[in-house]
């Protein structure tokens, strides 16, 4: 498996030529094959944990601090959840890479693009197969770095480099919390572990011991420390997975190429946060407080992001908000204790979200704009794309039998099952359910705006047509997956995979056997959303909210993203920067000024003192006589006093 990472890394250095893209695709293909094989292996034998590790660095035992020494390792672990994720990453990665060949062919800097993309995939793969928290963090940071590069790919555009910076900074806040979370867990568990293993410290934060969590039997408890640790991990995940209130970077990250957006939203960057929560939940455990908090964040994000998607005119941003919203579902599931359910949704979501993005990309590629209100009637010329987008939309809206239905339904069902034991989950469950409606509405609003009608609303748009096979193959493949991935749940081996991973958490979810009433409700809500969208936007209609409408301020609030970004910018630009300027002033004028003041004081003193050198010898004689008197004063009064006082030298 290490070789796999190496392949990804090596790939980054080979992109100097025109056919570099194909090399990258080749490597991604190789990765895909390996990934699928590994995942298949895991599915065929769900109980197998493959764990290989090397010492990264090691400290000798020191009494008190680390009686058994301290070690950091790098290693790979293939267990059910990493197998699942591996599948997602490699499949989506390969398809996006293939799609890029055409989508990006007119761009400059392609070697850079493929190198960064390969590194991105490699980092994500590394993250997924990490066997310890430290290594996890290492790749986590690398993922952040690559996303920084890729979002800022069009670095000549100020908005792109600004968005890249924003993404990096916001996720950095999360990273910092994650790091602290690691420390807290580490501190709590540093000596814990199986007997004779030397504890967590001596084993480099590893998750597993055979097929058991390394810390099995030592976890649990409800200490403040663990709660804080959980909150910190949640913070890290919120940063990466764009959860409230650290979600602001994700819509802006649309400045990158659409392929990158697809990758970030489907398989790599944002998935990392959810994956982190899942790993933590399975192997380290959250306290009840944490769980509630996670559920809350998930629920709020689900609804909150969906509301913003409702009004946005930019096709990519609508999808971006939908990602945030869907991630909220996953977080919700993990919080409620169903890590594997969340991951299952991540799995399906990856396919239909990649599908949505790639179809949107095809549209953008064809018409050269992202503004929904300029599009229209594209259904006629872009049949494949329109169909793909519709499939993706249906999956997103949770309409059976598309993949999204199975996973989202599982989430709602699982959380619902917990409501009895945890009545505090109720409000967030309601938010999540409301989110279903909104989701269906906004995604079909987008579909109708773009594809329905007779012709584009903006007549200057170029004549659009479906792309070539290099772009359609991924679309078709993903469409197939978006339709079919959900059915995997009925394959016992796959279910076993999920159950085996989930079994650790101790709460068996009910895959495939959902609460019918609940399912019906959610499907109904989804259908209602679609219907509303059709009513307002169908057939090329444009619904204009009257200026006098009472909801106009709400719309404005939503369009301005609740003013959160503006607030953050204000804190960053005005607040922090002003402090920095003030500090700079202090540094230059007060600290340095004090030093210079001393200097000037000496100079002035020196200048005054110089005047005693008058050149008149009589004055010098006077100094001698004065000195004589001074010496007598010293000898007769001062010195005896001092000697009597302190006893002398």
């Amino acid at each position: 498996m290490t070789a796999f990472v190496v392949v990804g890394l090596a790939g980054t250095r080979l992109k100097r030529l025109e056919w570099g893209g194909w090399v990258a695709v080749g490597f991604a293909g190789a990765a895909l094959i390996v990934g699928v094989l590994v995942a298949a292996g895991a599915m065929l034998d769900p109980g197998r944990y493959t764990n290989v590790q090397y010492t990264w660095f090691q400290l000798p035992p020191s009494p008190g601090t680390f009686p058994n020494g301290f070690e950091l390792v790098v290693g790979t672990l293939v267990d059910p959840i990493s197998a699942l994720m591996l599948l997602v990453v490699t499949v989506v990665g390969f398809l996006v890479m293939l799609y890029s060949i055409e989508y990006m062919h007119h761009d400059r800097g392609l070697p850079r693009y493929y190198a960064e993309l390969s590194l991105f995939l490699a980092a994500m793969t590394g993250l997924v197969i990490s066997n310890n928290l430290f290594e996890f963090f290492l790749f986590w940071e690398l993922v952040g770095l690559c996303s920084y590069f890729l979002i800022g790919f069009y670095y000549e555009k100020p908005s792109a480099s600004s968005a890249a910076k924003e993404a990096f900074l916001v996720t950095r806040v999360g990273d910092v919390m994650f790091l602290l979370g690691i420390f807290l867990y580490f501190y709590n568990y540093r000596f814990a572990g199986p007997a004779g293993s030397g504890g967590w410290a001596a084993n480099g934060f590893v998750f597993v011991n055979g097929s058991q969590p390394f810390l099995a039997g030592t976890m649990g408890g409800n200490s403040t420390l663990l709660t804080v640790a959980g909150i910190m991990i949640l913070g890290g995940a919120a940063g990466k997975s764009a959860q409230f209130p650290l979600h602001v970077w994700l819509p802006d990250a649309m400045e990158g190429p659409t392929t990158v957006s697809a990758l970030i939203h489907a398989a790599t960057m944002v998935a990392a946060g959810v994956y982190l929560l899942a790993v933590t939940s399975l192997f380290l455990g959250f306290t009840a407080t944490d769980q509630l908090l996670i559920v809350a964040i998930g629920g709020i994000t689900t609804f909150f992001a969906a509301t913003m998607a409702v009004v946005h005119p930019d096709i990519k941003r609508v999808i971006a908000y939908s990602t945030i919203s869907q991630l909220g579902y996953m977080v919700l599931a993990v919080g409620a204790g169903f890590a594997m359910v969340g991951l299952f949704h991540l799995f399906t979501h990856a396919f239909f979200k990649a599908l949505l993005f790639l179809s949107a990309g095809a549209v953008i590629h064809a018409v050269g704009t992202q503004d929904l209100f300029k599009m229209g009637g594209l259904r006629k010329t872009m049949k494949i794309t329109a169909t793909a987008f519709a499939i993706g939309g249906l999956a997103l809206a949770g309409i059976p039998p598309f993949a999204g239905f199975w996973s989202k339904d599982d989430i709602l069902g699982s959380v619902y099952a917990q409501l009895g034991a945890h009545p505090a989950y109720w409000p967030f469950f309601i938010l999540a359910v409301a989110g279903v409606f909104l989701t269906a509405y906004y995604i079909f609003r987008a579909w109708f705006l773009a594809f329905s009608g007779d012709r584009p609303r903006d007549p200057t748009l170029p004549h659009a047509h479906d792309p070539t096979w290099r772009m359609t193959v991924p679309l078709v493949t993903l469409s197939a997956l978006a339709v079919g991935a959900g059915f995997l749940i009925f394959w016992p081996n796959f279910q076993g995979l999920l159950l085996n991973g989930a079994g650790v958490a101790g709460i068996p979810p009910t895959y495939g056997t959902t609460d019918l009433l609940l399912s019906a409700m959610s499907v109904l809500l989804g259908g209602a959303g679609i219907a509303l969208a059709w009513y307002l936007w169908g057939n090329g209609k444009v619904f204009v909210l009257p200026e006098s409408s009472a909801v106009q301020p709400v719309r404005k609030l939503l369009l301005n993203r609740y003013y959160m970004k503006a607030g953050y910018d204000w804190i960053g630009a005005k607040g922090v920067y002003s402090i920095a300027r003030a500090a700079d002033f202090f540094d230059q004028f007060v600290i340095d000024g004090t030093v210079h003041g001393f200097e000037r004081m000496f100079a002035a003193f020196s200048d005054r003192l110089r005047r005693i050198q008058s050149g008149v010898v009589s004055d010098y004689a006077a100094y001698v006589v004065g000195g004589l008197i001074a010496v007598f004063v010293l000898l007769l009064f001062v010195a005896p006093y001092l000697v009597a006082k302190v006893g002398g030298g």
Partner: protein, 105 residues
Amino acid sequence: MTDLPIVGFVGLSAALLAVGLFGILTRRNFILLLIAIEIAMNAAILNFVYFAAYAGGTPGLTGQSIAVVLVGFGATEVAVGLAIVLALNRLKGTINVARATELKL
């Protein structure tokens, strides 16, 4: 001799020293300065003579011999001083020490 009051004698030489110092501080004429210095010097010579007689701790004429030596030394010193004042007068045409202030600050 041993009855001589020490305070009185030391006071006398101290007064002589003070006169000399006063002269050094107030006069600007080089010759007068020389005289003032010699007055002060005589205070020291007087002391030696006096203490030789009064304290008498050691036999012999130590103090008195020192006094004689110092008188001779004073003469040498004045000679050197006069050599300098002559050269100064020739070059600058004045023996006022306050006029010689080329070197200062």
